[in-house]
Symmetry: C2
Subunit: 333 residues, 2 copies
DNA sequence: TTGTATGCGTTATCAC
DNA sequence: GTGATAACGCATACAA
């Protein structure tokens, strides 16, 4: 069996209290006993039991991350940012793949509650009142990242999607494009769908361009939906010279479609994406897109959570986005 | 404060033992008290404290995953598979980004040990004797995935890299290519570097093709290294008609390079990748590549770990790979 | 069917 | 400086 604090106490002839003091380097022991004890610790290969510690300290030094899907570049980068920040502050992170399933999410919140996590980060998905209520009633500090929360007690951190989409549309317009199509994300999605569409439409309006329904098609952020969407879009509106896709994956879908059909990018069609995940730089041509500081969002989310766990206040905030010019969009000549 | 088992015992006038029995639905109580107790549980919103449970049960129902980098599609898919399998069996997963750093890895193993995880999965990185020793001495069951272990007590699960690379080369050869280049992974890397190179060379030999150094260039599995590698390769050997890259990312690097230089794929050059991550299907042209069942490897790794945690034996095993034909390679005409 | 008591491995509050 | 000892929240062997 693993040695306990009691074993090393017995072995050195001191009390467990003293050993505990030495372990947590408090004061209350002579240099000599300290050495004896530390020697015994080495010999027995003693490791403190964090579970027992957590029980008495009432904190687990662990946070939970609720995320809809682990297998995307976006999630991966976000997790990377969260884990890095957490590890730096000695926190462990428990991952929970919600699969965008309400029941499963609720179960996970329960679980995290039972596991006594010190905080939770809710990522890239609609943060419902139900989730919010459950979290709040459990008393666990929480922050949402890449999505919004209406409750001030759980702040959020993200980019300003509407402004970002506005910028993307404006970019295309400034390049001389007048007939621009948009491939939106999921219809009615209040976090990444609607705002990006609104931004797009507002830009057209500000630049005194007409917006017609034939310019709009909905996808679901996925590659394949982008592929299908551009096909529809081109059918409805063959004269577009530029297209803004609400995700890089959808943008890649249009690039693939165009490649197959012999539509050259950016010569025949300019396309700008959204997210700037790894695939954006790897596509051919490389994708001009709206950069989200995903990893930074992750670490910033943890920082916010750390404040909360520290009993401080924390406010929602936006992180800056940026348009990265690569090769998929050009000035209309 | 959160209600404890004691609170609900006091509230219903029964002992904590009875409450505990009801919670773990064992037997030893009347239907009537059960109802009373469950009512109190609802009212107080009582949730069992998993930390306390773990302490007495000596298991945490949690596993740790050591992984070199979270932000890649490969890691993401692997995690997805692991988490899914774990969740199904009521296990939570703690993620540990080792950053391919030895010290950090050792620290994490310590941490997982202290946190009393029931098992650990070590992923896609060289599993050193040092790690192995530490894990073994801690008594935590472990399995390595997408890498190898020489110790029978910690089994591994992966595809047969050498055979897979052999198949990739053979594929190209059967398509009529005689002068094939290879962009290998990191030099001397014993897990994904060397075996793939060996497989490639063995295929050439079996098909009685010459292998010369001018056909070989080393990258580090990354996109940018693939880009640089193809440039070098073409310089050393302008007559290759096909190239096998040891990772999809590197293959995308060659596709980008060729796109820029006007080298048409697959007309001028056939390329086959390795991994079949998401990017393979999204590239233009879509990438012909060696498919690794990454997600399945993750869930299989957990299954193996579950056996180990269950006190059973578990042996290393290979999962099948497969060549996915898409558009980046064609018969030489 | 139910309750008492003990222990899980630590930390912390007292005394000495 | 050091040592009992009582928590922490729960499970369980043993009684009743």
């Amino acid at each position: 069996m693993k040695p306990t604090i009691k074993d090393i106490a017995g072995m050195t002839g001191v009390s467990v209290a003293t050993v505990s003091r030495i372990l947590n380097d408090q004061r209350g022991y002579s240099e000599e006993t300290k050495e004896r004890v530390e020697k015994a610790i080495k010999e027995l290969g003693y490791k403190p039991n964090a579970v027992a510690r957590n029980l008495v300290n009432r904190k687990s030094h662990t946070i939970g991350v609720l995320i809809p899907k682990l297998s995307t570049s976006f999630s991966a980068k976000l997790l990377q940012g969260i884990e890095a920040a957490a590890h730096q502050r000695q926190y462990s992170v428990l991952i929970c793949n919600t699969d965008s399933n309400g029941e499963r999410t609720m179960d996970y919140i329960q679980l995290l509650n039972e596991k006594q996590v010190d905080g939770v980060i809710f990522a890239s998905e609609l943060f419902t009142r139900e989730y919010c209520r459950e979290l709040l009633s459990s008393g666990i500090p929480a922050v949402v990242v890449s999505s919004v929360s209406v409750h001030p007690e759980v702040p959020y951190i993200k980019i300003n999607d509407e402004e970002a989409a506005y910028a993307a549309a404006a970019y295309l317009i400034e390049k001389g494009h007048q007939n621009i199509g948009m491939i939106s994300g999921t219809k009615h999605d209040p976090v990444a769908g609607m705002p990006r569409l609104r931004g797009f439409q507002r830009a057209l309006k500000d630049y005194r361009l007409q917006f017609e329904n034939s310019q709009l098609v909905f996808g679901d952020f996925s590659y394949s939906s982008g592929y299908r969407a551009i096909e529809q879009l081109l059918e409805k509106n063959p004269y577009i010279t530029g297209v803004f896709a609400a995700s890089d994956e959808m943008a890649l879908g249009v690039i693939s479609y165009c490649y197959e059909k012999g539509i050259r990018i950016p010569d025949h069609l300019s396309v700008v994406g959204f997210d700037d995940t790894e695939i954006a730089q790897m596509s051919t041509p490389p994708l001009t897109t709206v950069h989200q500081p995903i990893e930074k969002m992750g670490s910033a989310a943890f920082a916010k959570l750390a404040s909360l766990m520290n009993g401080e206040e924390a406010e929602s905030s936006y992180l800056p986005f940026q348009i990265i010019e690569r090769g998929s969009a050009k000035r209309l000549s």
